[in-house]
């Protein structure tokens, strides 16, 4: 079957404005969801589920959040992991200490993070460009400090809170498959919600601010509300992702799991995956999650077992090198490569 846009006649705007206007895309998405919900849980090993797929999905969600802010609204944040940390601690406290149901705890973690994110978004109303980028680092350091020093949250300077056993609607979430379903059932709706946001009125306002904020304001877009909303929505996603990863992957909230390196990883995900692309967030999330595993496998293939610190160095080199490579060669990341590939397939042999 050939990917074709030709011959798809949209008789009304409703069809043209559907989330996936081309039938093959629609089928593609249905197939991917089918694989994700039905095939994967029955065929993937526990290792794949808990060490690769879960972090892939959760980090993609966090990257999507950062993409709203940086890729769509054009406000660079290099302290985004701190927002994940807020979500992690708050949802854990809600669930473990106040016995709020799990899904509501995640939501609560997200909402508190959204509020924190809005506060750290306030400087963006006056500060721009590099100045703003550096001041987002303030979020990283201030939040880290507050989380570890506020005893109500972490119980002391160690800043580690263990997750209690999980339950959703009375079902215990104890196996990798169940955790995977939990992650999937949070990530999928939030992704669809996010896709709708960015292709609608708010997404257009964000992109307008990104492309030229002065002109955006002159045509009547309030920079104040839209920037704050970008910070809020973006932090909400980061917060939910932080809560999810803590419950399903780390097993304990630890401030070191959300240090500045993780912020850079998130940034790398959207640069490599694709700025201003929902799909790109997932490409980037997958790419960065798989990178260390690739390197390891690659080394294995040559019969060498790399020492862990050399492995870490190789990872740094590849990570840094790929960021530069993509910025130079393909600033819109893997998502654009994907698009270009699809365009080549349009009504072969006469692509337009």
């Amino acid at each position: 079957m050939i990917y074709r846009e030709c011959g798809v006649f949209k008789a009304n705007y409703r069809a043209d404005m559907a989330i996936f206007p081309i039938p093959l895309d629609r089928w593609g998405v249905i197939i991917i969801l089918f694989i994700a919900f039905v095939v994967v849980p029955f065929s993937a090993s526990d290792y794949w589920l808990s060490s690769i797929l879960i972090p892939f999905l959760v980090f993609s969600l966090a990257a999507l959040g950062l993409n709203f802010l940086t890729g769509y609204a054009g406000q660079l944040s290099i302290g985004h992991a701190a927002f994940m940390a807020v979500g992690a601690y708050i949802s854990l406290i809600l669930y473990g200490r106040y016995e709020v149901p799990l899904l509501l705890s995640l939501l609560g973690g997200g909402l508190v993070t959204a509020a924190v994110g809005a506060v750290f978004g306030i400087p963006s109303l006056r500060i721009k460009g590099f100045y703003l980028a550096v001041s987002t680092l303030a979020a990283q350091f201030i939040i880290q400090w507050v989380l570890t020093h506020w005893e109500w949250i972490s119980g002391g300077v160690f800043g580690t809170v263990d997750t209690p056993p999980m339950q959703v609607f009375g079902w215990p979430i104890d196996t990798p498959v169940k955790k995977y379903y939990l992650v999937l059932s949070v990530v999928v709706p939030l992704t669809i919600f996010g896709k709708n946001i960015v292709r609608g009125q708010l997404g257009r306002a964000w992109m307008a601010i990104r492309d030229m904020d002065v002109a955006a304001e002159i045509i009547g877009i309030s920079l104040f509300w839209n920037k704050l909303l970008a910070f809020t929505v973006s932090s909400f996603y980061a917060g939910v992702a932080g809560g999810l990863i803590t419950f399903t992957y780390y097993g304990a909230a630890n401030i070191e799991a959300f240090n500045i390196m993780v912020s850079f990883h998130l940034l790398g995900m959207i640069i490599i995956g694709g700025m201003g692309s929902v799909l790109g967030s997932f490409f980037g999330g997958g790419f960065i999650t798989l990178l260390p595993i690739f390197i390891n496998q690659f080394a294995h293939a040559f019969g060498t077992v790399l020492k862990t610190d050399l492995l870490a160095c190789l990872e740094l080199i590849l990570f840094g090198g790929l960021i530069i490579f993509f910025l130079i060669v393909e600033p819109y990341g893997l998502a654009r490569l994907w698009r270009t590939g699809k365009d080549k397939l349009r009504l072969w042999p006469f692509p337009y």
Binding site: L76, P123, L137, L322
Partner: protein, 292 residues
């Protein structure tokens, strides 16, 4: 009171060394419009290389070798990273330097190892007394060296022919080209200077804290200084460095105990945020006027 003065002086001397790192950023920004996030990783790389060279060369030759390496690196960065990104938005270049930072970190640690190393350049860290004030000898020497370099750089940038050319490039790339200043050479020179700054900072901070990964985080100290002073202001970098050095020390000692300590990590950022709210381009930065 004596104690407060000691704390402030200690902070100021450290502040001079912050200023030096911040100056590395400012020089590159002024001459190429690039906000070089990799400055900290260049510091780490320079220190690692120096420690590596010290195992085979005497001190002076090792420093020279490290300097040559940093200059070669500057030329390579210009050719491989900057040139293809010339016409791109400044934030793209900024992100590229983030990538560059990781790349250099990986290379440096891959070659010379990740274990912490000592670096001894023969200055002891024993405090001594002047007029009843206890002052660290090391901080004093570091402060003096950094101060000297800051002075030399300012002179170079403001008074020398090459320095003037570099400033012309920063004001307007196209205009500089049209009066015959080769942009590429100007960029390579300014990155080589940043390499020199990284080396000196690497020597000082390396012999103080040991040469290890955390050395690259020195950049994170310099960033709030930079935005506090204004990213394109040389005096801004110097004054803000001193302000941050002194105030974070004072805050840690006098404010820290009430809130549980450890506020040094973020205090400069908080300070920078407050100042930026009132002066969005730092204390001395040039305001960017946007036109439509």
């Amino acid at each position: 009171m004596i104690f407060a003065i000691e704390v402030a002086i200690g902070g100021l001397l450290v502040g001079v060394m912050y200023s030096l790192v911040a100056l590395g950023f400012v020089l590159i920004y002024k001459s190429s419009g690039v906000f070089n996030f990799a400055q900290g990783d260049m510091t780490l790389l320079a220190a690692l290389a120096l420690v590596g060279f010290l195992t085979i060369f005497p001190l002076w030759l090792a420093i020279l070798a490290a300097l040559v390496l940093m200059i070669a690196l500057a030329i390579a960065i210009e050719a491989i990273v900057l040139r293809p990104l010339v016409a791109r938005p400044p934030l793209a270049l900024f992100m590229a330097t983030i990538g560059l930072g990781f790349f250099l970190q990986g290379i440096g640690q891959g070659i010379w190892g990740t274990d912490p190393k000592g670096l001894d350049i023969g200055i002891s860290d024993i405090p001594f007394k002047i007029k009843g004030l206890l002052i660290s000898q090391f901080d004093l020497a570091g402060g003096a060296l950094a101060g000297g370099l800051v002075f030399a750089l300012v002179w170079f940038f403001q008074k020398s022919r090459t320095g003037r050319a570099l400033r012309a490039v920063s004001d307007d790339h196209e205009a500089a080209l049209s009066v015959g200043i080769p942009l590429r050479r100007a960029w390579a020179i300014s990155w080589a200077i940043a390499g020199l700054v990284a080396l000196v900072a690497g020597i000082m901070w390396g012999s103080r804290l040991g040469v290890q990964f955390s050395l690259s985080l020195i950049a994170l100290k310099a960033l709030p200084i930079l935005i506090l002073g204004g990213i394109d202001s040389i005096p801004g970098a110097i004054i803000a460095g001193l302000v941050v050095g002194a105030s974070e020390n004072l805050a840690e000692v006098f404010l820290g105990p009430y809130v549980g300590g450890g506020i040094q990590t973020f205090f400069p950022y908080l300070l920078a945020l407050v100042v930026l709210w009132f002066k969005p381009y730092g204390m001395f930065g040039r305001e960017i006027i946007e036109r439509v």
